[in-house]
Symmetry: C2
Subunit: 214 residues, 2 copies
């Protein structure tokens, strides 16, 4: 099999695949990841798998015990609360900075997402809304112009996602809150955008706590 034209590095491919498997629950928290099994299942040698492990380890998605292999990260309640708190702080920094910079490309993208989102909401297109909700967060991170912040947010968001198991909020509810944030950013109202974002994430956090501690 030819490696093809401009194939990405295999470690990236492997890392992405593992990440999505972890996030969508195919790999349950605490389950063990044997490098042999992974490499066999994905048809690559063990070398890229090990490199992918190191990356996921640094991203906090997996935990490594020396000589005992790698397993999907499992967090306790307190750790999850901390992650939420950190995520909130970082998202606020990001949305403020994006609203202040008003990078033209990001603004155009946000307008596009806003339009597509309201159409999808009317049509009741759940999967489109889910994707747009993802775009929303990516755009707000990217709009800061900071590669570091983008990486940190993605990492923390993954770990936060890790906790929800099944998402509690419907894509429609999420979208209406997102739309308000986007409008504030487009209006260059950084403080309003931050406030709306804070409420957005805080509500979500609360509803999760409620379901987790009955």
């Amino acid at each position: 099999m030819s490696i093809g034209e401009s194939h990405r590095a295999l470690r990236d491919e492997v890392a992405d695949q593992l990440r999505s498997w972890i996030l969508d629950g195919t790999l349950e928290p605490g389950s063990r990841l044997g490098e042999g099994a992974i490499s066999e299942r994905m048809g690559v040698s063990r070398l890229p798998v090990r490199e992918a492990f190191r990356r996921l380890e640094a991203e906090g998605l997996v935990q490594t015990a020396p000589r005992r292999g790698v397993r999907v990260a499992v967090f306790d309640q307190e750790e999850l609360a901390t992650i939420q708190e950190v995520r909130l702080a970082l998202e606020l920094i990001a949305v403020r900075k994006t609203a202040e910079r008003r990078d033209s490309e990001t603004m155009n993208e946000l307008e596009r997402v806003l339009l597509a989102g309201s159409q999808a909401a009317e049509a009741g297109d759940q999967s489109a809304l889910k994707r747009l909700n993802g775009d929303f967060h990516e755009l707000l991170a990217g709009g800061t112009g900071s590669r570091v912040l983008v990486a940190l947010l993605r990492s923390v968001r993954n770990q936060a996602h890790h906790l929800v198991g099944g998402l509690v909020t419907s894509p429609e509810d999420s979208w209406s809150e997102h739309a308000r944030v986007i409008r504030a950013v487009l209006d260059a109202d950084a403080e309003m955008a931050a406030l709306l974002m804070r409420r957005h994430l805080h509500d979500r956090h609360e509803s999760q706590r409620a379901t987790l501690t009955p």
Copy 2:
């Protein structure tokens, strides 16, 4: 040479060595890190070096271009400002959480550091102060009980350190501010501790900006 009894994984050793070389300026920003050269210089094979690269990459200390190797990360002014902002937010979360949890082991360690620090300050022992200043930040991160936050802070702190080149603040000045924060934490005054920490980091940030933009 025998690998010995309970030696840490070589990738950790390599990553630590590279990290300190980057942080102390032995490896200048933008300089290239050939995996062959590193493995030769450190007397290990290329594999642990590559694993270490992936970790440092995720920590943001190095940047990787496909097929073009890895080089020490170089950040522009705006990125550095963002990193400082993120670090401030995370340190505040950490110091508050530590002051609220009051983990007994951490409190004991903080008392020890406080005592040793005041002695070192009197004796004018610069290197001891420098080490204690490092312990200070590690303890505040560890006191949160959150592995994730510890990892994030270490990463962000490394990248912030990355910018200073030569540190501007003397260990003594740093220490006096640190000591005040420790006392506030020991007094369970989370808000006071956070306020002192904010001022501590903010001052440092300002003095750096002053030296960088003459």
